[in-house]
Amino acid sequence: MRLAAHDVAVRRGGVEVLHGIDLTLDGAEAVALVGPNAAGKSTMLRALLGLLPLARGEVRLDGRPIEAWSPEARARHVALVAAEEAAFGALTVRDRVALGRYPHRGPFLPFRPADEAAVDAALAATGIAHLARRALHSLSAGETQLASLARGLAQQPQLLLLDEPGAHLDVGHQLRLFRILDEARARGVGVLAVVHDLQRAAAWAARMVLLAQGRVVLTGTPAEVLSSPECARVFEVTIQRHELSGSAQAVYSFEEPR
């Protein structure tokens, strides 16, 4: 399963905010979408899902234009996990996660045991099974984020798009989050995540896409992107790479330029 954007331009409020983006995501891939604030990262995720009208270009899912897919079929293949507005009413965590089965059951069909199993598995994978009966609005920001992720997993998509999935998570939960994403990749799920923490993105992703001012500035391995002068320029920082003895991961330090 491949999601491919070609020359995608998006206008919002009469202003073009994405100017001809090329981006692909394949099954089992880990891609980090990075860039400074207002680069257009979140808009790009929504455009990839076909939620925004395109001013130019096209998005194809498995070779077919995204808008040619029925919304439910598309949602069976691609899930979006984003920071949401608060749900109205005291929905429980489990009920919220169970709505991730909508693409599989539609508005009318009753749930089968397989659907309940998918919900249970998603709650267990995200470590929030003990919160299943809690009302959503009684959760902390971090727990809410895990509930959103669980909803995305319950969808059982082949491609998972995430908008800053670790923004409200402590370091332990962040590590767990990326382990969950790696487990999904082991099942063949391609993951594209908008990540603000460049260090974390570099440790997790195989490929990094640097977006700035609505354009792809650079695509490559995290090491290639983070060592590039373009990356330092768009973030307006100096970046230094440090090899640690005994660790496979390089460490990056960031400073404001003098």
């Binding site: 899902l49 939620l51 949401e84 005291a90 429980t92 009920d95």
Partner: protein, 341 residues
Amino acid sequence: MTEPARRRGTFAVLLACLPFAVLMALCLGSVGLAPGQVLSSLAAGAGLPVAPALGTTGETILWTLRLPRVLLAMLVGGGLAMVGAALQAVFRNPMADSGLLGVGSGAALGAVLAVHMGWSTETFLALPAAAFAGAMAAILAVYGLSHIGGRPSLEGLLLTGLAVSALASAGISLFLVATEEYRVKTVLFWLAGGLEGRGWTHLGLGAAFVLTGGALLLASSRALDLLSLGPEEAASLGLPVHLARMIVMALAAVVAGACTSVAGSVPFVGLVAPHALRPLVGPLGRHLLPASFLGGALLVLAADLASRTFSQRLDLPLGSVTAIVGAPYFLLALRSGLGRR
């Protein structure tokens, strides 16, 4: 108490209260009927081998006055409460009800027009028919006006609904001023909401729309749940958000229009019943919509009973009773923090 237990308990209480309330409403009134006799008359009417115990007058009161009125009260209350619950999910706001769609004002304009033109005195059912037509015209106007230049946002729909309501209210005032005084009272009675003088025909017509529309709303409860998550998440899960909103609003308008055309304005039921029941049965449509139907039915049944037994001399307007109960409830709920979801 666990959430499923609380939900089952709530349904059990609602279902247990309803028959008692119905029996009370059938027995009490300007002429009292004995509960035992009412029960045996009902049993006889249902074809059971029981001799009807009420006299001729009692039978007439029961079968032509009280029973259709009681059933109509339940139908109207249930319908309005269900519409409120559905629209609150669509607008993601506990203050949403059918008034937002311009349905109430449209129906009122239709009713005023029917009285002004004299149709209501010439033709049986002309007033409810005109009210229903007015409600449908209002929702079509909201739909059409809000879609000029593309799909409207929720705010766009809301503001269009307000504008259409205001326009209809202006029309009501114009026609009222131009209507002969003796006719104004007819329409004032209707505007204040009430069930006196409604019979089986009203019930049959109302039930056809309310029960069909209500069943379809219940069938769309999973879509309502998705809408309550917010438009983006609903769309990412594959729900055609705009279409789903329009379908729910159309069904809501049909149900609320039918309720309003037979009973006039009955405010606050659509707000109070779902608001009181949401913490008890949870916000999922498949639980909240039926619970709201039962709760709303009970509420209007009780309000109608109060309206016709409170005073010997005249029936209080039903709409005033629901507002007198509903408004303080709502203020209290807001103060106690329930209104903050």
